[in-house]
């Protein structure tokens, strides 16, 4: 597992550079300044002196960069002697790390199952943010003018390749191939899509796998035959250049995501056994501070507060 944790920063860097590069290509896409980039608020009074502590996080690779970034920010801004270690290997590993007591916090990109909760004495969970995906098409696609959204069943048929051309979907549309753009099939983002929309049906084999969310969005912006999903944060920055699709009549808005009516989403939670220590509470407070929540927003997830 450790190997993965070491590779992560390099891969993230590469991904971020790519996102940045491709983001530039998004023509008129002028991202609004992230709300939290101003003066970050200190999470707690500096006066409380905390014992030197190491906090170990293990689990979902979706949540790992969030915790690692918050920890890095906190290290720069606070002089509390807290060291945070993050390793990742999936939500399941987050649960088993808590059961085996090899980590202080488990990171999960799904709800904890009842069977798992039973194995953890004094189970505690903290909802940190929500990961949601929007399904969008190119605004030049005539479908954008015809329909506000798609049903789950239609999305399954499009992504599985049952409809090969847009004409197959609706005779009024051009007879051009539907270009399905996805993230890597093994990745966390695709997992949300697979679980919440596709179920057991597989995505067509010739779907384009974009190397980053930024690349995925720019493919939809540039190709009028394209349809794809993108993380809420990234796609919302380019909302003028994309046509968002409602899913079963529900619009992808923060409100609909938070109240649970929007389908393609999953919770990002931290779990632990027992009440947090003073140092752990300090770090939890940092996650829920303006700084922490703005980092969650910047990485592309929906903050809770």
């Amino acid at each position: 597992m450790r190997k993965n944790a070491q590779k992560l920063p390099a891969i993230l860097c590469a991904a971020m550079i790519m996102t940045a590069m491709i983001g530039c290509a998004g023509q008129s896409a002028a991202p609004p300044p992230a709300p939290g980039t101003q003066v970050p608020q200190q999470p707690a009074e500096q006066a409380t002196i905390i014992e030197p502590t190491q906090i170990l996080f293990d689990g979902s690779s979706t949540l790992a960069p969030v915790i690692a970034t918050i920890a890095a920010e906190l290290e720069e801004q606070s002089d509390q002697p807290i060291e945070v270690f993050v390793s990742s290997g999936g939500s399941g590993q987050g649960v088993s790390a808590i059961i085996d007591q090899t980590a202080n916090f488990g990171m999960l990109a799904r709800e904890a199952r009842d069977s798992e909760k039973e194995q953890i004495p004094d189970f505690q969970e903290y909802l940190v943010g929500i990961d949601a995906l929007t399904v969008s098409i190119n605004p030049e696609n005539p479908l954008a003018a015809m329909r506000d959204g798609l049903t789950t069943e239609e999305i399954v048929r499009i992504f599985s390749g049952e409809y090969a051309t847009w004409q197959d979907f609706d005779p009024a549309l051009p007879g051009e191939e539907i270009v399905v753009v996805v993230r890597d099939i093994g990745g966390g983002a695709h997992e949300v899509f697979q679980t919440n929309i596709m179920g057991d049906v597989e995505v067509r084999a010739d779907a384009i796998q974009a190397p980053s969310m930024g690349a995925l969005v720019s493919r939809i912006i540039e190709n009028r035959n394209a349809i794809g999903y993108a993380s809420f944060g990234v796609s919302y920055q380019s909302r003028q250049d994309l046509a968002f699709m409602e899913i079963d009549g529900v619009e992808p808005t923060i409100e609909n995501i938070l109240n649970g009516s929007y389908l393609i989403q999953r919770p990002l939670i931290l779990i632990r056994s027992g009440q947090p220590t003073q140092a752990e509470q300090y770090f939890l407070d940092a996650i829920f501070s303006d700084l922490g929540q703005s980092i969650i927003d910047e990485i592309g997830f929906i903050p809770i507060s």
Partner: protein, 289 residues
């Protein structure tokens, strides 16, 4: 005493590179073992496709290997004639000064980060393919080949130019004394004499082409299907970059990715060794003349 210390220091430093290579090779080999024993020939199942997360997971890397070779051959096939002609032109048809300045720019081309090539490929090549070939999406094996061929040019031009220079310095006086034209001496003397140099340039370019990651990933579509010229594909390095970070350590999925890389590393070792031997033979041949 001092001399000995320096000797040991130099020896240990120069041994680091082969040591690192061996460590990496052993690591990749070790990680690839579960897939090799657990899947065996299923790794090369022509019926199967790379679907590690399907209802019935399948781990065939055949299409991915084929795409890697296809893209590299295509890129070398485009770049070799262009680069070869450019090298001849620079040595025979321009002044020294122009040639030197041009070669400096060619070397600069090699310093451009590959993500930039990928980015330009996406905006120029992919977009124009959609227009020219009337494709619904321009991401294709050919697009990757075109982008890669530009990246290979500096390697081919500078390696081949070096061989021409050497051959030229040997035969130029004789050619001039015989009064033969530049065309004649290029066709009848230089090209036959530099055959091996050209082969070495092509082989090392092939090695470079088959390991390129990000530029190819951005224009090929990364779909693990059977490669066709205007269809999508996925290369070994692209697959690795996309999936290795998410693959659970010790899983069959991660191991199969390592297996693909092991095959690439071994093949490349053989290819690059051939290039090295060719070049060495070439040098000793020049010594003889």
């Amino acid at each position: 005493m001092k001399d000995k210390a320096v000797l040991y220091l130099l020896a240990s430093v120069s041994l680091i590179t082969p040591a690192i290579f061996i460590v990496i090779l052993v690591h990749v080999f070790y990680e690839a073992m579960p897939a090799a024993t657990g899947l065996g020939m299923l790794l090369f199942d022509s019926e199967g496709i790379w679907r590690p997360f399907g209802q019935t997971p399948s781990f065939s890397i055949l299409n991915i290997i084929l795409t890697t070779v296809y893209v590299a051959l295509l890129a070398v096939g485009i770049a070799a004639p262009i680069g070869g002609m450019a090298a001849i032109f620079l040595n025979y048809y321009t002044g020294r000064r122009t040639a030197r300045i041009t070669l400096a720019f060619v070397d600069l081309l090699a310093g451009v980060p590959s993500v930039i090539y990928g980015f330009i490929g996406l905006l120029v090549v992919v977009r124009n393919f959609e227009r020219i070939f009337n494709m619904s999406a321009g991401e294709s094996v050919l697009a990757a080949g075109v982008v890669l061929s530009v990246m290979l040019l500096p390697y081919i031009i500078s390696t081949y130019s070096e061989s021409i220079e050497k051959a030229k310095s040997k035969y130029d006086t004789a050619s001039m004394a015989l009064g033969i034209s530049a065309e004649y001496s290029v066709l009848k003397v230089i090209i036959p004499i530099t055959k091996r140099g050209a082969a070495a340039a092509v082989v090392s370019a092939f090695g470079r082409a088959s390991s390129e990651t990000i530029a190819v990933m951005m224009v090929i579509g990364n779909a693990p299907i059977f490669p066709r010229l205007l269809g999508r594909g996925q290369t070994i390095s692209g697959l690795t970059a996309l999936e290795i970070s998410g693959a659970e350590v010790g899983s069959l999925h991660a191991s199969a990715i390592y297996a693909a890389n092991l095959i690439m590393m071994l093949t490349l070792s053989v290819i690059l060794l051939t290039a090295y031997l060719l070049r060495r033979k070439l040098l000793s041949e020049y010594e003889k003349i």
